[in-house]
């Protein structure tokens, strides 16, 4: 049972125009710029809390969830979906079921994210991290996901390539499973609070919160990597068996580990034990996938370097390695005594969501842009500039926030009052905001480049 051979691209019968992929590309680029701007405001408050003081709609407690929701549902997910809407028709040798539905789902997606942002900014939040969006927006999110599920399932049904490639497995699973876990995690059957009562609420929340990364961003990011890397290097996928084991072990292991956010909370010990054991076991799905991908491109770094999309994607796989090794380590209770409750975890979140999933989404966008517009990128130079700005920014975040986390964690663990640690970490907050400015600048450069590439590109058609 082999994979479809990606080493030569399938182009017959498919019109190059792909309005759905274009719409999601633009969505992602726009919300990347918006989300990093929200993040920048938040970083400003941490340096100078009287900066923008007393402006209700953007004060720290509101701009932080706006940043997170805009990143997850505005930037990364649509970016990975844009690539998916490109590679689904290619891999299935058929046209997308409906571009009308696709474009509508992109527009509805934007309305949903915007409604969520405005809602949180006005104080309509359910106050649960990653599940802040109020009930009507929750329903809109579920509709958005359902529209995408419908479109891709019906595309799969009318496919002309019998064999489903790995990227199809991952993305289909991600969208279907997240439609379910989103409803569960947001306790959608209780519209007024969107929550359970007491400790079970925390267990459910972190089951869901962790699965936003584990069952949405990760499989869709891997879907892009499994598609882009073999094509860019013109190499067949290294191992079908590893693809299979990687996929199923991810679904099994990742879903067990949300409780590692609650190791220091009174939840049942057996549940903590499961989450710790499976967090360590995460090295299995992660390393299997990485071995498979890295062996696929072995000796072909030149080809990767030549394609800006593939360059982002390879960088994403390296961050995938780091975030997961770090994550497995952080789930160990002794390590967590130092790392929990402080900026170490914020660093980890940025390595995962920006370093891996976000960079993977950017890779997908830059990989498909020339292919959906039929022209080279408006500027490969600007894309390279964005690559370095984002890479320097997120690497700097990892270093600076880890240092801050160690200062905080070790101080607290040794009896220092939190209040006394605030002046110690202030300089690092300034560094962090400066690095955030790199990322935000990268996002705006990317937005400009993507808009020019999509709509105002005078470059020659290829």
């Amino acid at each position: 049972m082999g994979e479809p051979n990606l080493s030569t691209e399938v182009t017959e019968k498919l019109p190059s125009s792909n309005p759905t992929a274009k719409a999601f590309t633009l969505t992602s680029a726009l919300w990347f710029a918006a989300a990093t701007s929200f993040g920048m405001i938040g970083a400003g408050y941490l340096i100078a809390p009287d900066f923008l003081a007393n402006i209700e709609y953007i004060h720290f407690g509101r701009v932080r969830p706006m940043h997170i929701n805009a990143v997850l549902f505005g930037f990364v997910t649509p970016g990975l979906l844009a690539a998916a809407f490109y590679y689904f028709p290619r891999l299935l040798r058929t046209e997308l079921f409906s571009h009308k539905l696709g474009v509508f789902s992109a527009i509805f997606w934007n309305i949903t994210v915007a409604a969520g942002m405005i809602g949180i900014s006005l104080g309509y939040t359910q106050g649960r991290e990653y599940a802040e969006l109020p009930w009507p927006v929750d329903i809109m999110v579920v509709i958005s996901f359902s529209l995408v599920v419908l479109n891709i399932l019906l595309t799969i049904r009318k496919r002309e390539e019998r064999v489903l490639y790995v990227s199809i497995w991952y993305t289909t699973a991600a969208i279907i499973l997240t439609s379910v876990t989103y409803c569960l995690g947001n306790v959608i059957w209780k519209p007024d609070t969107g929550a359970l009562v007491g400790i079970p609420d925390a267990i459910l929340l972190w089951f869901y919160g962790h699965n936003i990364f584990g069952l949405l961003l990760t499989p869709m990011g891997l879907g892009v990597a499994y598609y882009v890397l073999p094509i860019a290097t013109r190499s067949p996928l290294w191992s079908h068996s590893l693809s299979l084991i990687g996929f199923w072990s991810l679904i099994i292991v990742y879903t067990h580990i949300g409780t590692h956010h609650l190791l220091q909370v009174p939840v049942p010990t057996w549940l903590k034990t499961i989450s710790i054991v499976d967090s360590v076991a995460m090295v299995i799905p992660v390393m299997i996938v990485l071995i498979n991908l890295w062996y696929t491109i072995k000796g072909k770094l030149g080809e990767i370097h030549a394609d800006i999309g593939a360059k982002f994607v390879l960088t994403g796989t390296i961050y995938y390695f780091f975030v997961n090794i770090q994550g497995s380590m952080m789930a160990l209770p002794h390590v967590q005594r130092i790392t929990h409750f402080n900026n170490w975890v914020v660093g980890h979140a940025h390595i995962g969501v920006l370093g891996f999933a976000g960079i993977m989404a950017l890779g997908g966008l830059y990989f498909i842009l020339p292919r959906i517009t039929g022209k080279p990128l408006y500027s490969k130079f600007l894309a390279d500039v964005q690559y370095w700005l984002v890479l320097i920014g997120v690497t700097g975040f990892a270093v600076v926030l880890t240092i801050v986390g160690l200062i905080q964690g070790n101080s607290w663990y040794n009896g220092e009052a939190l209040y006394r640690t605030l002046p110690m970490i202030q300089p690092y907050y300034i560094l962090r905001a400066s690095l955030g400015a790199f990322i935000m600048l990268g996002a705006y450069i990317g937005l400009y480049n993507i808009i020019r590439s999509l709509y105002f590109n005078r470059g020659a058609a290829t």
Partner: protein
């Protein structure tokens, strides 16, 4: 293995169902709903305050979850399942940009919290919490009621103590500077009243005292120690004007004792968890030298000479 759509969809959904039942539904179904010994129901106002707390993202910087490894703020009681049985949603928090609030109720009197919400740096000069003046007094008061309920029955006991001493401190303040200074001296146990600051005043110790004063005291007592810091309009009895203490027999020991334990009922917090002994003596001497203009540092009786003294 042939990965058909049916295999993928049924496979992932079956796995998700099985795992959700195990790691979410099973702990939900077997949860212990017994209230902990400190639990009590919240009042209507406290519930409204909790909504304001959630609406404005307080939970992103403040945890409500004391761990066995915690030392300082609220760490006198480790969290139990039975503390959370009325929380919907639960507000454990995931980050401590600010302190844990599990046992915040009664740590300070209401006026401290109100000044702190108007601008956190009024009462905590190094705080990085943004101001909440824009909430308006009505919502700030509800939020304060909620914060003062954190810790449930423990908080109620502390609040009763705050109210008792609030009345005492107001009585002393309103009786005039003589009476107020006498009261401030008398609430320190007698042993402390007779102890002078045992360490000599040096240029270095005053510099350090100055820094500690700026990081902890300036918001209420003001840059010249006259009690006219920015928090002053919100606090009653108002912050102490140190300059009235000259000639009123305030020993280094009394200052040390009050800094260490705070003055319950007033906005003066205790610093024993945040400042080590040397820092308390040094900021006390800074106040005595610069604001009271009368320091008993290194006066007799001194006991054993410290090893580092010249």
């Amino acid at each position: 293995m042939r990965m058909t759509p049916t295999v993928i969809i049924t496979g992932i959904l079956a796995l998700l169902a099985a795992i959700t039942l195990t790691v979410v539904y099973w702990p939900y179904a077997t949860q212990d709903k017994t209230p902990s010994e400190i639990f009590r129901a919240r009042t209507a106002v406290e519930n409204e305050g909790r909504k304001i707390y959630l609406q404005n993202g307080c939970v992103y910087c403040h945890s409500q979850s004391i761990r066995s490894i915690d030392w300082v703020h609220g760490a006198h009681r480790i969290a139990q399942t039975g503390d959370y049985i009325a929380d919907e949603p639960v507000a454990l928090g995931s980050q401590r940009t600010g302190v844990d609030l599990s046992q915040e109720g009664g740590e300070h009197p209401d006026d401290w919290h109100i000044a702190h919400f108007i601008n956190p740096r009024y009462t905590r000069p190094s705080s990085i919490m943004p101001p909440f003046e824009w909430l308006g007094m009505e919502r700030i008061e509800k939020l304060t009621q909620y914060v003062q309920s954190l810790g449930f029955k423990n908080a109620d006991q502390r609040m009763a103590r705050q109210r008792y001493w609030k009345a005492e401190s107001i009585k002393a303040y309103e009786a005039g500077p003589d009476e107020n200074a006498r009261w401030l001296a008398e609430i320190a146990p007698e042993g402390w009243r007779n102890i002078p600051n045992p360490y000599p005043t040096t240029e270095a110790s005053l510099q350090r005292g100055h820094k500690i004063y700026q990081n902890n005291c300036i918001g209420c007592h003001g840059p010249i120690g006259d009690g006219m810091g920015p928090a002053q309009p919100w606090i009653y009895p108002p912050p102490l004007n140190f300059t009235i203490l000259k000639g009123r027999e305030i020993s280094g020991g009394i200052i040390y004792y009050q800094l260490m334990n705070g003055i319950t009922g007033t906005a003066m917090p205790y610093f024993k968890k945040e400042l080590e002994s040397q820092k308390i003596w040094e900021v006390g001497d800074y106040i005595a030298v610069y604001f009271i203009n009368q320091s008993d540092a290194n006066a007799e009786p001194r006991g054993i000479d410290a090893a580092w003294e010249p």
